[in-house]
Symmetry: D3
Subunit: 221 residues, 6 copies
């Protein structure tokens, strides 16, 4: 099976990180590649960024559809997922939707941990639109200015563990979703400490793409 | 990683089929085994069967917990899943819940295809309890007496395709869930014909167990 | 009419207390008995206890079905209620479901008062599954270690009144559900002080069983 | 205990029928009376009738509150229930709300059977407002002109049984609510034929009023 | 077009204020009048007031229906709206329903700001009944005794701004509904300071009545 | 007040029609203009069209924000509404959201009438995401190939009336939403025949933009 992950932002290091995480999760017989379109913003931090990244993402998905079995949209906001599904016959998985799907299979009530307060409304809206609000125990943040302020992974990890523990103890969560793209690849370590599932959205998406498997390839019609 | 699938009924051929499907879905580095407890009914066709199979399933899960990373309950009704989660620290995945989770990641509206009319109320109730009723386009059946009446896989496949096509055309489904345990292993073929994802519950569960990965093992406290 | 209450745990004093409360609630022409099956746990405090008590409860219900008009499952978790309904033609009432039903008839928003924090997630899940989450103002607890720590009914009563008053004042509840089985029989006293309905689950179940009345008796088919 | 049922319409025969049904359902120690206010419409068949009957109903409830323990509003639309609760400290039960409450305690999915098509929208709205729409399998009617056209109870009973059987077979209902006030007192006979609970709203309300018991009496403040 | 606003309370100054606000919002070609029925309470502060004002409101609506194109019920509780719709063929708009409708068109999550704590339960219930609870970020109040205690509009305005800012910052609201009838006519000033839409219920109702336009006039049938 | 309607497709006749309908609905003191961005598809018939039209729409909204008080997105899918709201401080109204808002203020249950079967899934999803699915009686269509096949407005009008009448009679709708952009400007005529409100999305949006009024203008920050 061949899975293409499209990172809808233009930060090459992030594309590389996504490919690495996907590679580690996939079957050895699965070919995996991550790519980003030209002309997209360096990060997708708001609805407007999302809007701007969709047309190039859509074009890239159409251009690559004939050569890959599944397309994974590698941004937690799942930008343009309905449009991509409409244009190509391949299965299309968004890492945001995949992360919530994994969460409801892993427990009864999930908490989402995201970077800063200004993401909360959008994330709440995303969960509400998927119809999963009553499976969500809480949305917690790592504190304003997190990205800039952190000197290293160590401090980020500590903050994450503190919030995740509060989610489990106080909010009743029995599963935590990593809504923070900078943390791809550390779910395994985190959940060993927490004792409850910590969902890595890229891993969830690759596994679900493999679960569906190849269907058809190429543009629709 | 080591995944144990517990088939809560005592039909050895079914246990074998589950193990085979799981084996085909898992990473080569994942060790997979399917097992059924002693003293359970030959099939789980109703709430009462479910009730009877839970205590032996729970005992088996506890007995095996220290040696396996994840437990998969390999019955689409997910019998006793909350009880098993309560008793062991390992991740516990039910194939029913996993199939619906995969479905909502694969599309907007799923249809469930189950064997006979008498399963419909229970299936509707299961979906309602998970909070996914408004993501469900329809529950369709293969007709009364299906199991007994079929001379072979061929006819079952035709009936399934007819119902699945109606689900897509008439009910608006863009994803189909195989709620019929006798059909494990044929999703790939079916979806190639339909052109939309067909979720195999065992495959979905194994992939989601791998997505979560090992956490801790053994009885709780 | 003849109502059998099955206490799915083996604590004889509790069975006796249930019978006494039921007797006080029933019509004089209603015959009431409480019984517990052999081989069940002494208390149903978790999903696993629930699972273990169901098969003997089911067997007892089937064995007694021909002689009684209605079966009441006298545990607030309603263990095995769907299975029992499936096996016998008699009306089957769970005291948990009956308590929430009475609460939504008594007001607009109920609060549930349960013993300790570790019950909250299960109780929230029970209410969510019944589709009544938006009629629930809050779930409050009497504090950890309550059962062990109380020297007498007096202190329990004070704690209950304090929490119930907070539910009414702060959470907007206009009805309180007694989710604490040790408190059967004191609802009347409590609600006289609170001034809002306090639902006793055993009383609610007996009244609803009488409201339905006899239908048919015995195993299904 | 003393329960006053207020029939908000001025049809004396109906008031008498309600009292008779309530009397048959109540404990021998419960005093029961049905009364209707002066100056209300002869029937409550629409929202406007409802509006017109509320002020006299409210006045009667206030005038009687000090002498009775509970007030039952004996109209399936529960006209003015929030207003009555606001004015008096006694428990107030509506027969509509009580009937749905009994239905969700008696099964998983109820069907409501009402007289004619023009009631369907209002009944659907009532169920939606109570938050119980996903517990409702269907609303069925006995056909236009039913009241006028029936020569006797016999034909009404046949029509009811036909619709109730369709609700169970086709709609998946496992409980039926009698939404037809002219049929008070025949639920017992009907459910013996159907084999599933048939809820009589007056009986449900009396039982739930007794389940709550006396709290306080009289006007609020 | 001719729009009649019925103020269901008898406070003439309020009727005048409503007419003024409506006049300012309407097209110059729209004729606007506000009127109140005889024999209604001076204010509609509870369900009982509501009940008492409905029959005269209904009678006035029927009496005026032939001469006006639309009827606006100018009380935030929308008293008797279903009854009025049933009796006349004209479009009928309630200012409460109109204010929530405007709010969901203006943003994703609204907060309602009402006078005192004792209105909160009723307002929550109104929003829940309309099916909009998951679009509501919070219900905030201006503090007990507000009406009596304020020396002038100035202090009320400050309190409102403080609560509205908290709704936006802490509760995630992106739109605020003025649930406080004494504040009609100041939404424009408030929203200029807040920077998010502040919905004036009378303005919303007049605009929505104009959006629908004339249909038919007079009593039904 | 100055309202700019952005038609996100490049069909000039449609832009002109939108401006005309908006002009007819607005206050004489309201300045109204409709405009479409360069480089957008000729029609927005699918998610992919939607995606392609959003970046130019967003750019146009930002470029015009300082000169207009409100921006109306004049496409029933509300493409990019969250992105536009994020980038500018002006109120932003989508005609789709406005049409559903007007519908819930005009009645209890609305039906949407759209052109062809292939729009139904998207429209259902739009309504579901807004949280209004339980206020929607049905989605009806005018039949495949409608646009091409119609020789004139006359036949379209007949088809619409037939579907709308069925929505009211059979589905229980008491309000109809025009989800068919080619029909802008005929709602008034249609509702005179139907006798229930027919919502024109452009009119609803202009009225709601006026209801909110000016707040602030220009790009955010």
């Amino acid at each position: 099976m061949r899975i293409l992950l499209i990172n809808p932002n233009s930060t090459a290091a992030m594309t590389a990180g996504i490919e690495k995480a996907a590679r580690a999760a996939a079957l050895p017989t699965t070919e995996v590649r991550a790519e980003h379109p030209e002309g997209v913003p360096p990060a997708v931090e708001c609805y407007a960024d999302e809007a701007l990244c969709i047309p190039p993402t859509l074009a890239l998905a159409e251009a690559r559809a004939a050569a890959w079995d599944a397309i994974v949209l590698a941004c937690h906001s799942d930008p343009g997922i309905d449009a991509v599904r409409e244009r190509i016959v391949n299965p299309v998985i968004g890492i945001g939707e995949a992360s919530y799907a994994a969460a409801i299979a892993a427990g009864r009530l999930f908490s989402l941990i995201t970077l800063t307060q200004r993401f909360v409304r959008r994330k709440r809206e995303q969960i509400r639109r998927l119809g999963l609000l009553d499976r969500c125990a809480s949305i917690r943040t790592l504190g304003a200015g997190v990205v800039e302020g952190f000197e290293g992974k160590e401090r980020l990890r500590d903050r994450f563990l503190a919030e995740a523990e509060a989610a489990v103890r106080q909010d009743g969560a029995d599963c935590v979703v990593l809504g923070c793209s900078g943390m791809v690849g550390i779910a395994e370590d985190l959940q060993a400490h927490l004792g409850v599932p910590v969902v890595d959205p890229v891993v969830a998406a690759v596994k679900l793409a493999e679960a569906i498997g190849p269907i058809r390839r190429g543009p629709r019609r």
